[in-house]
């Protein structure tokens, strides 16, 4: 029995353990890895994807799937840039794109909750639809500008206290709020109830449709927020800039579900998994490996981690 408890704990902490082990290996192979600057880099690089992954956690916990947030991020980034080129006030453009994110969230909620289209399919529709609109705005290519105001540059480039990248600050704030909401409040408990058994949630007096809708809206807004950071950070954006973040963000949520809780998606897990994915890509490029090495390793680690998870569950028999 003692032995089992230790194995269980190990299993639940396997992600941070892998992060430490890999960190040690990278540190040995590359002297720059452990430098403060590089560690801040990892955080900075993971911010955009993490914000999306945090939003996706709400949707997945509520028992649904959203494959459209990549397009939401794209439209947000492209619009920010287009408006900046037109000389619009950055603040106004942020409000506009956040509202657009909100609207896309409501649209997804509508097709899933009201039209009862399975979210996996319905949100692919949204992805393509919004993707079409972005391509139209961007004329099928890249939007970029070199003339932007100081305000515009803040979300992606400012350094707080002269060293802390602003995306990291945004991520920390988003994470803190979402962590508290999902893991500590009644509302968060309702998300889990709906995802666990929507009909039982309805019987327990929880409006399951409302909760599902809310999860899509939250993700819509957060995806738009990450688009703002993209625009500001790179000052350029292709019309499908968000698509590169889609699968890593979703993978992070599932990978994160093995952290602490046995297979239950959760905010801490998502965050730890995002850090893990970023560490992998940062470390690999430092020691001169290519992205395909990274992909292969990512795949292996993911399958192994989840296999451990399942083995743990089976053992209960």
């Amino acid at each position: 029995m003692k032995h089992n408890a230790i194995v269980d704990t190990l299993r639940r902490w396997i992600l941070p353990i892998i992060i430490l082990v890999m960190g040690t290996v990278f540190a040995i192979l590359s002297p720059t890895f452990l430098k403060t600057q590089n560690l801040l880099n990892i955080l900075n690089q993971t911010a955009i994807m993490s914000i999306m992954a945090i939003g996706a956690t709400f949707v997945i916990v509520a028992g649904e799937m959203d494959l459209s947030f990549s397009s939401t991020a794209s439209i947000s980034a492209v619009l920010c840039l287009t408006l900046a080129i037109k000389g619009q006030n950055a603040l106004l453009s942020w409000v506009i794109v956040l509202l657009i994110g909100l609207a896309i969230g409501f649209f997804n909620a509508f097709i899933v909750v009201k039209l009862k289209i399975p979210s996996m399919l319905g949100t692919i529709g949204t992805q393509i639809l919004v993707g079409g609109i972005v391509a139209w705005i961007a004329n099928g290519g890249t939007v970029w500008t070199s003339r932007f105001g100081t305000l515009f540059a803040i979300p992606g480039r400012a350094l707080v206290f002269g060293f802390l990248p602003f995306p990291v600050v945004i991520l920390a704030a988003v994470f803190a709020v979402c962590l508290v909401v999902l893991e500590k409040t009644v509302l968060g408990r309702h998300f889990y109830a709906v995802g666990g058994n929507a009909r039982a949630a309805d019987h327990a007096g929880i409006n399951a449709s409302q909760i599902k809708a809310l999860s899509f809206v939250a993700l819509g807004v957060l995806a738009a927020l990450s688009g703002i950071v993209i625009a500001s950070k790179f000052a350029s954006s292709t019309c499908n800039v968000g698509s590169g973040y889609l699968f890593p963000a979703i993978i992070a949520v599932y990978l994160g579900s093995i952290f602490l809780k046995d297979g239950v998606p959760n905010m801490w897990g998502t965050m730890v998994a995002c850090l893990f994915l970023q560490e992998l890509s940062n470390g690999f490029s430092l020691i001169g490996l290519k992205y395909w090495h990274e992909d292969t390793t990512q795949g292996i680690v993911m399958i192994l981690a989840i296999a451990m998870q399942m083995a743990g569950k089976r053992r209960k028999k």
Binding site: T185, Y192, G195, G196, N197, H203, A204, N207, V264, K316
Partner: protein, 502 residues
């Protein structure tokens, strides 16, 4: 070893983390024998049977089937050996039809690869006719009632010539007509030499059908006796280790004039029930009795806002409920429904531990500023409620999965989710004692009467007429979605009531 022995268990022990579910069980079951297994909730009955079919594997001990030592690692091994089981929790595949479910794994084929749907349906219809069961066979089972689904499970188990048949609380969600069918099937199989194991909490059923009775307590085998050698009192004493003097508490009329619930001329959108008029006074326990499928559950669901209303009104404490109300609004008003279909409508299998399964009913009472849940209060609440004298939920750890609890303990947890709410005014109970043992049943009846004495209104649906006549002040008889009659306690007579529902 004699040819007549079907199953022998030698020293079977099963340990789960923190619990010994079975300890050193020895048992011999002969061909053509009907063996009842009795015991309180969590005594280890289901665990024992699940080990026979290979769903679980024993920690220690061995199993002999028809004289040969066997180790089943998977239910399919036991199936191949001729062992069939109806599990306590229904596990049909929702989108398959009745016929497809019955023939699952043994489909008729056209040629080598193609399923012959037509022949399968014919075969299923023939089986149903032979045993006299009347269930729809060509609609997906998710559209069937709980009882019809249960019948499909039973038919599936008996249809393929089992040599050992295990039934884990098969009658818990059946009406008396269906129970009769089941028992006649069991007798026929017995004639053919099939060994049968049945688990049930209904003592009368045991005395009616069993040849021998095995009693378990705390995972140990207390005794195996012949039917007829013990009476009801003995059985209860052996199961609980104490006496339960009577089946029902004394009923004292505490009904007030004020109505907790009044339903006027209610017809639901699907027209499953029509022109329903009923009321429940404060301090009164009212029963709804009718055959399965008569619309009892639908009445509760319409009252609770889970089912659209076409016509008619619902009043709570004299105030009309606006149409379009949701269960959440009802809960705010102190109205609670405990549904019959526990697996689908009550328990949270994924994401939630047993603690969260309970506290979901009390989140407003354990949360504070901005809806922040206090873990400390949540733990305290869980311990308080699960240790209540009348519930005594048996569990190993607070963060267990709910499916690791025995069936009866799951039901106790679900009851506990609502019945101690501070704002409770009206309780709608659909088969509240489903799967609960005799000892706890009595305590729950006492609790229901106590709530009535405190002025709460209670509306109970049950397929067990004795249960309703035992605890209710008044009874409505439902037939084909309509109220056929109303009886006050003085007028309760079983024959009269049965006449009205048929």
């Amino acid at each position: 070893m004699s040819q007549a022995v079907a199953l022998e268990l030698r020293g079977i022990t099963k340990r789960f983390p923190g619990v010994v579910a079975n300890e050193d069980i020895h048992m011999v079951i002969e061909k053509g024998e009907i063996r009842a297994i009795m015991g309180e909730n969590g005594a280890g009955k289901s665990t024992l049977c699940n080990m026979i079919t290979g769903l679980l594997s024993p920690t220690e001990g061995e199993l002999l089937f028809e004289g040969r030592k066997r180790e089943f690692h998977h239910p399919k091994d036991a199936l191949a050996a001729g062992i069939r089981m109806v599990y306590q929790e229904r596990n049909l595949i929702e989108y398959l039809t009745g016929a497809q479910s019955i023939c699952l794994g043994l489909e008729d084929r056209k040629g080598r690869f193609f399923v012959d749907e037509k022949r399968m349906l014919e075969r299923a219809v023939a089986i149903c006719q032979e045993i006299g069961a009347d269930v729809p066979l060509n609609v997906p089972v998710e559209y069937l009632s709980v009882a019809q689904q249960q019948m499909i499970e039973i038919i599936r188990a008996v249809a393929h010539d089992p040599r050992l048949l295990i039934l884990d609380e098969p009658t818990a969600s059946l009406g008396s007509a269906e129970v009769k069918i089941l028992f006649s099937v069991m007798r026929k199989l017995k004639e053919k030499g099939v060994a049968i194991v049945i688990i049930t909490h209904k003592i009368d059923e045991v005395f009616e059908i069993a040849d021998t009775i095995t009693i378990l307590r705390n995972g140990r085998l207390v005794d195996t006796v012949k039917n007829g050698d013990i009476d009801r009192m003995d059985a209860v004493r052996m199961m609980l280790g104490r006496d339960v003097s009577s089946q029902f508490p004394e009923v004292v009329n505490t009904a007030k004039k004020e109505k907790a619930l009044e339903v006027r001329n209610l017809t639901d959108v699907g027209k499953r029930v029509s022109h329903i008029n009923l009321n429940v006074c404060q301090g009164e326990v009212v029963g709804l009795y009718g055959l399965l499928g008569s619309g009892r559950t639908e009445i509760l669901e319409s009252i609770y806002g889970l089912r659209g209303i076409l016509e008619g009104e619902v009043f709570l404490h004299g105030e009309i409920c606006p149409p379009g109300k949701r269960s959440g609004d009802m809960i705010k008003k102190g109205v609670f429904l405990i549904p019959e279909d526990r697996r689908h409508l009550s328990i949270f299998r994924e994401f939630f531990t047993i603690r969260e399964n309970l506290s979901i009913g009390y989140l407003d009472q354990i949360s504070g500023f901005l809806g922040m849940i206090s873990r400390k209060k949540e733990r305290k609440l869980f311990r308080d409620i699960t240790s209540r004298e009348e519930l005594r939920v048996k569990y190993a750890r607070e963060n267990q999965d709910i499916e690791e609890l025995s069936g009866g303990n799951q039901q106790k947890l679900v009851l506990g989710r609502w019945i101690y709410r501070k704002n409770l005014e009206l309780l709608l109970l659909d088969e509240p004692t489903h799967g609960i043992d005799v000892g706890v049943k009595y305590d729950i009846y006492v609790l229901i009467r106590k709530m009535a004495a405190r002025g709460k209104g209670i509306l109970v649906v049950s397929s067990e007429l004795p249960e309703l006549t035992g605890i209710c002040d008044r009874l409505y008889i439902i037939k084909d979605g309509q109220i056929k009659g109303e009886l006050s306690r003085r007028e309760f007579e079983n024959e009269k009531i049965l006449e009205m529902v048929l």
